[in-house]
Symmetry: C2
Subunit: 315 residues, 2 copies
Amino acid sequence: MMDAIRDDLEQFEANLRTVVKSDVPFIEAIGDDLLAAGGKRLRPTLAFLANHALGGVTQHGMTVALSVELLHSASLLHDDLIDDADTRRGAEAAFRRYGNVVSVMSGDFLLARVLGLLADANHADFTRRMSETAAKVCEGEVRQFQMAALETWSMDEYYRVIDGKTADLLATAVAGPAILNHENRDVVNTFERFGLAYGRAFQLQDDRLDLMGTAEELGKPVGGDLREGKATHSVLQLIERGHEEAIGILRRHASEASDVERMRQLVQDEGADDLTVEAITQEIAAAQEALAGMPEGPEVDALGALVDRELQRLR
Amino acid sequence: MMDAIRDDLEQFEANLRTVVKSDVPFIEAIGDDLLAAGGKRLRPTLAFLANHALGGVTQHGMTVALSVELLHSASLLHDDLIDDADTRRGAEAAFRRYGNVVSVMSGDFLLARVLGLLADANHADFTRRMSETAAKVCEGEVRQFQMAALETWSMDEYYRVIDGKTADLLATAVAGPAILNHENRDVVNTFERFGLAYGRAFQLQDDRLDLMGTAEELGKPVGGDLREGKATHSVLQLIERGHEEAIGILRRHASEASDVERMRQLVQDEGADDLTVEAITQEIAAAQEALAGMPEGPEVDALGALVDRELQRLR
């Protein structure tokens, strides 16, 4: 990673520390978790790369990086609760230690801080963009639940779920600096298309490996999505073909001992995995096409390297 | 209520309907609940009265009314979950029907809509104000939980809880139009002081009646706060005096059959209820003092009538 981006990310951690400060110890503790857990900071990295690619003011990259990462963190906090997840980024799920009240309210507290950042930036278009993104994130989460509860399985709905879960927020991370820098509509669209396609490739891949990867790669047992009744790309292809056995396994949340292994086999044998690989390859190609329309330089090369990593994960 | 305010409130319901629209049926259902449940619309009424008192643009009153009511509704949705409340505004608690996921995400969805309203208003000071208010609402909720969990009972902390729960948001409803109308600092402060004092009187009274009222008045059993381990004004006076029996009852969340009745008796006999009435009277006086500094007219008279209602509830 370039020095400029490394500096931005360092400054980002310092700023995050300030932004999540609260004089309520229980909230402060969650902020500390957030800092300690760290994570890859993929969204801030995308924002800083996009901002540098445009030669934007440093502050613009920072506004986008902080807003998007806080929105992401808030959604993880609210998701911890929902998924009853045992671990998130390796740290003990916050709500287990402090109860639902603190988990939900700390997420809300982070959202309040996003508002403060947007007030400081004072840029109506970016505020609107964040509003739309936040709405899509919520809708994506509810759609996923709704699809399982009402059995309204469909590929269209699946793409809306992964957009809400990942791609829309990544698109905002990448397009945000262009919006704040008042770039023209074409530039904003190109950056947005990159973020959306890269985000879809990323989430499709994650969902694919959740079933087809190894427990070692994942750091958790395979088939987690299936056991929560979540239909992913490969499984949905079997469902849309009316594959009764696959529907049965999904419906019972893979509750029988051999269900996950059987679904893996079906997905492999019926060619569904191949089609998922093809879908990912398509998104990667779309991301690369968007890259070709961006200003050449080390930042865009770095974005390209992120996309290449997704290509490698396909193997 | 004046015709102008009635018109505003009618327009408010129509606008709310538009704002909470979603093409995800599960979220839409929560929006419908919100409209059907209605409630007193106290916060919008305060915003419209304050805006008319200042001769502000109609849109300013609407921005404040919608933002504040949506923030309030979001906090109720997240609170339903937390309190495990059986009923809220008489409607079945949303989360019972749809599960935690929809309740939390629908609250988040409403917050996203607040962001959209703030983008439309494009007024940095009001956005910042909403950010600070939202943070205080969360902190208030967590403080309440924290006070029970860590037994850090104190009157100071109690006031921070009721400010976060009620008074800060009411203050923003009343001061919001002044902020959007770019009134000078003194005017904003006067409106804010009114909202804060009225909000404290209101919440002190609610907390008082939760223990000292009748089940008939409350529409639910008395002592609900006590059974959730929440220390309110009267009880805190006994706690701060080191009253062992009261501490015992609070600590066990009034789990023994006669606990609530015994606490009522203690609060009465030890003069704690009288001191709570005195505290409410003080807040009412502060609200009336702020009113005296506002432009005379039917709107300020109407705000005065709201305060008088709190005086009557004291009897």
